[in-house]
Subunit: 295 residues, 2 copies
Amino acid sequence: MSLSSIKYGILAFLFFTLHAKAQQATGHKQLQGDVVTIYSKILKESRILYIHCPAVDSAQPDKTFPVLYLMDGESHFDMLAQYCDYLSRWDVNVIPAMIVVGIVNTKRTRDLTPTESMINYFGKTDTATVSWMKPSGGNEQFLHFIQEELMPYVEANYKTSAFKIFAGHSFGGIASINCMLTHPGMFNAYVAISPSLWWDNEYIIKLAEKKLTKGSVLNKIFFYSDASEGVRDTSTYHSNLLRFDSLLASRKIAGFDYKYKYYPTETHMTEPVPAYYDALRLIYKDWTPAKNKKR
Amino acid sequence: MSLSSIKYGILAFLFFTLHAKAQQATGHKQLQGDVVTIYSKILKESRILYIHCPAVDSAQPDKTFPVLYLMDGESHFDMLAQYCDYLSRWDVNVIPAMIVVGIVNTKRTRDLTPTESMINYFGKTDTATVSWMKPSGGNEQFLHFIQEELMPYVEANYKTSAFKIFAGHSFGGIASINCMLTHPGMFNAYVAISPSLWWDNEYIIKLAEKKLTKGSVLNKIFFYSDASEGVRDTSTYHSNLLRFDSLLASRKIAGFDYKYKYYPTETHMTEPVPAYYDALRLIYKDWTPAKNKKR
């Protein structure tokens, strides 16, 4: 029997056991999500969290799980919880089972932007009396809340391992990059889906130019992407991503495992579907069930 | 104001309203799924169904929804329910809200294979005393169950529109193609993710050769795909898909809107994540909210 026959022998066995398991199904388990409210002294307000925890395996009651901290919880929590469940299933098994913490927004612009700014998407000063851009610039406080209040809560109440991921879309994308540049120790991996690099005259690109000095070390995994924004019009959305990508390449950062992916056929709002999937696959590309203590 | 400025004015407005909606969030709605058991006289057994129905819009109480009938309900129902919910959200809105009916397996090989066969994946006769291949060849009966018992149940109990999709993976893939070839009127769109074209000496390819006569008409949408199966070994998985794809091209079927996609970096089990997404986007590629009665 050749090696490939053995491989397909195993495949045939998996087919068989898959069917056997399927035949035992008696009901439908919905995705589990705790809804938790915690009061933040730092932000001076209550915050709602959606927390998905893998089913406890009675054979491994002390097993711990990496934690994915996800911004825009109300938008993408179901998607990430479903991806993590499916991809960690015994018969798929390409990532470890994970805890997903979806942070629900209160004042999104305030929490996810790194600077106070009234310069809008078009590069003009927003002159609206009641502007959606106000308040802004509270990302440092928000990261402080995550580090000082949210992480201790999650670590005290769930079976967490040391590996942590921070993921966001749009403003959540710049929040993720801002955290990586200013508090790299907080997470092991960062995800930025269509980060709003236009914010405040490309503040994040300038910050990266300053922080990522040539030949420095950053032992992080980083996935970033954009979609059709700025392609069919004159906005700088896509060219900003290309600039940012060139910058990272030019700095030759040691230990930095990063990937940029462009989704020209997706919109700003459909892109999270393929991009969050690709981000998870990147983060765990070297992971195998046998090495599951590593990440 | 140029057209593109207007477009981004709308985008900025959407951002604002998105934030406003987000700020009203007070709790987490889990994916809804009814668990229903119906007794099938045709199959002489009870069948479990997972049925996801979009939230009722009080402004449109009589609105109806397309129905996605999904094989391997226990494996892929959560994924499809989540995709349909996310992609039909008001701020994503690239497909209509849909009812998803996940059919849970009892005897998977029996229900999803078109012929009785003991020829295994390697083209050899399976000689095991208790073979996972037995019983097989019950797909015609299973389709009869769907048409005569399942569809009437769903249509009597949910607000269904006329548009129907049939989707499956692996054996579910050949079941979908078998239905399209033998009962094309049952559904408007067919999805076959990594169909097991190897079944019974490529029975489905031979059936397609016979049924799809050159220049005939088939007003259906059809998505099919495969992953890395058969690439790193000597199996015919991928070459079968290429043969099938060439066959469809050569027959020049009028009205037939089909797409083949190959995912060489995915496995048999990870492929459903990108492929079901791509299938939904293909089926609704011409859909817009204004045309939502069409499909």
